[in-house]
Amino acid sequence: MKPTIGLCCKTWLAAALLTSLGVQADTLRIGVAGPVTGPVAQYGDMQKIGAMMAIDRINAAGGVNGMTLEGVIYDDACDPKQAVAVANRIVNDDIRHVIGHLCSSSTEPASDIYEEEGVMMITAASTSPGITEKGYELIFRTIGLDSLQGSLAAAYIRDHVQPQRLAVIHDKQQYGEGLATTVRDLLAQAGTEAVMFEGVTPGDKDFSALIAKLKRNNVDFVYYGGYHPELGLILRQSREKGFDAAFMGPEGVVNSDLAAIAGDAMEGVLATAPKSFDQSPDNAALVDAFKARDEDPSGPFVFPAYTAIQVMTQAIEATGETDPYALASYLRSTRFETTIGEIGFDAKGDLTEPTFQVYRLHADGSKTALD
């Protein structure tokens, strides 16, 4: 009995809603879910400006199949608990296309709900391999995986650095530890065993004990899996304590703030990072558009987020429908021309080509690409 009442109410509500929205029926709403608040809000901002720029430019060019796009921002504060609430709200708001979430730990519980409820999600930032491993149909990403980055780093270390005494340090977080483990294991297979493998506490400021230990172990090369605040401090304090090994990190450390924290000690640090799409001549006009809006296009998630919208709309244009399942099968079957180059998706929903490259970082915040 009860469900019937509920259903009646729902149908009535839905009908009322539809009539009220009748005027705007040719608007396609796209959810943009990520942290607007909380400690990683600045990364959420990168995703937001990328997605919003794409939406505005596509609308300016006449929209998609006569529909105007509308970006709806949702804040999950990178908190897994709130991510579930946000996902439920998105389903509730009848939005069927989502860009996000940002942090892997939020994306993971949210993608369960999207898959179940038939919502298409493209994340432009979550790099944890676990997300696409469950065989989801509607979950995609426009950014490379941690594991790809790790194998790239390991190959570079093996071929070009050939360290005598290697240490692998990580920050005990999903992203950092995953990368560090990949690098350690791949190098061990290649015959270079790490003399040290240990974690630090994120948010910690004092690494003097760790550095003394590195010094004692005569380490000459350190791979750090984690983000820039901790690596910056490790570099800065290493310089002070006269510890001068070479360092390498993942894309999480490539940030202009690293130069500010580490100072001169940053010169020569190696890092794997997504190709700098804002440096690509093809994107010059787009970079100018960002600059005209006083936005910074250099963040690592700006162009992947832009691409996510691009891919979605190209698929809608080609298939002529907005049904997530139709779009998903189209995404898997086609290659796309995007701001991050020509891309395609594999069966799991991951990019088929790696988008990372090894860079050498400089103290003035710039970086040069290595082959």
Binding site: V84, N88, N92, S105, G130, K134, E177, A363
Partner: protein, 418 residues
């Protein structure tokens, strides 16, 4: 007025000092160099405005207070029906609320039901901690540890042994209770604030261990793909997993994704009602009375032959077991758990719920849990000011009603003349 001039000037000066450097000047990181820039004229005029307001309020404090006292306060108590009628209406009211709880999810949106489920988790946590803090008067800052134990119990048992939610629920409660007992035994002889810091430390230890024990708990990756509860074996998914049947197929109705959310909500309601019932009963038993007696006067209790260690331990263990149930349910609702859901701030929020509700009062705790989970959601409009407001409201609420929303009423008898 003149007497108030000096304090008013002082308060204005303090306000200026508080704001001038921190808001009036901003550190800007432009690439590798750090620079300071003064805020724009707008910000400075806001600072000036704040200083003037503080000055005026302090200066005119006495007249303002006088004015407030002269305002007629509406007499609310007169509006309530008299006590006998209230007592007669009470069971009906409760019945109405319970029926309402079961009916309303079918009327509202999926998001609201989901939020209500989250609220109910906090209600459960608040009620559990209320036993420890409100009844027994033990300050526990590491309550989240037991919540984590419950959540991980279900996640691990379902991942490694494929046990279902309903089997794991009692196990989670028992295991959390065991942890409470093990921790409680040595630390309960500590006095008030030492107990607080030890429990806080314990909470952190559990979280760090979960984070570092990567082989079993998945470390920072957490555990994903945790099954949702089933209704006597019926699943609420679109497609049934192997050897199982779905709810909609069994009843031959069309699949609707909101059934799952509503079912989770109903399970939460049942758990909360059960919690309330159990705690209500225990509160009236000798052990419940002993908790409160111990809180009021430990020495008197000892003189009367009560064993404080056993009494405290029972409160601690029982409180922990409810956190275990809540944790188990949380893992089921979330489908994915990782150590970052069990940080100190979570303990602080649960404690805030208990204190805000008026320690010891069950209805108060429920209201406070609703306020604490709904408020940040409502304040979403304010985006980045949300947490600022949350902190501010927490302070203001306590200043406004230090005894809590609904302070506990102790059973009492009144002798009436005539």
């Amino acid at each position: 007025m003149q007497r108030a001039l000096f304090p008013a000037l002082f308060a204005a000066g303090v306000t200026f000092l508080l704001t001038c450097l921190v808001i009036g000047v901003k550190l800007v990181q432009g690439g590798p160099t750090l620079t300071v820039v003064g805020a724009d004229a707008d910000t400075w005029s806001w600072i000036a405005f704040a200083v003037v307001i503080v000055f005026l309020v302090q200066l005119l404090k006495e007249p303002l207070l006088g004015l407030k006292q002269r305002l007629p306060m509406p007499d609310v108590t007169g509006l309530l029906p008299d006590e006998q009628l209230r007592n007669r209406l009470k069971p009906w009211l409760i019945a109405l609320i319970v029926v309402g709880l079961f009916v309303w999810p079918f009327m509202v949106s999926r998001g609201a039901v989901d939020l209500a489920t989250l609220t109910l988790i906090y209600v459960m946590l608040g009620l559990g901690l209320n036993i420890v803090v409100g009844f027994a008067g033990l300050l526990d800052l590491g309550y989240v540890a037991f919540y984590a134990v419950g959540a991980y119990t279900y996640a691990l048992l379902s991942e490694y042994y494929g046990l279902s939610f309903w089997v794991c629920l009692p196990i989670a409660g028992l295991l959390a209770a065991t942890f409470g007992c093990i921790l409680g035994f040595p630390v309960l002889r500590l006095r008030g604030d030492y107990l607080a810091i030890v429990t806080l430390g314990f909470g952190e230890i559990i979280r760090i261990l979960l984070n570092n024990w990567t082989n079993v708990t998945g470390g920072p990756n957490g555990i994903g793909g945790i099954d949702k509860p089933t209704l006597f074996g019926l699943e609420f998914n679109r497609r049934a997993s192997e050897g199982a049947q779905t709810f909609h197929a069994f009843f031959g109705i069309q699949y609707d994704s909101s059934y799952k959310v509503i079912f989770l909500y109903l399970v939460a309601v049942l758990l909360v009602l059960l919690t309330i019932y159990i705690i209500n009963r225990i509160q009236r038993m000798p052990i419940g009375r002993a908790w409160e007696a111990l809180r009021e006067d430990e020495i008197a209790c000892r003189s009367l032959g009560l064993n404080p260690t056993v009494i405290k331990l029972s409160a601690f263990t029982l409180g922990a077991s409810f956190a275990g149930f809540a944790g188990c349910f949380f893992a089921a609702r979330q489908g994915f758990i990782s150590p970052e859901s069990f940080t100190f701030i979570e303990s602080a929020i649960i404690l805030a719920i208990v204190v805000l509700g008026g320690m010891g009062s069950q209805l108060g705790v429920i209201l406070a849990a609703i306020a604490m989970t709904i408020l940040p959601e409502l304040a979403r409009e304010f985006q980045e000011y949300r947490m600022l407001m949350f902190g501010g409201v927490m302070v203001l609420m306590m200043l406004w009603r230090p005894q809590g929303l609904l302070p506990m009423k102790r059973p009492h008898l009144e002798l009436k003349a005539s």
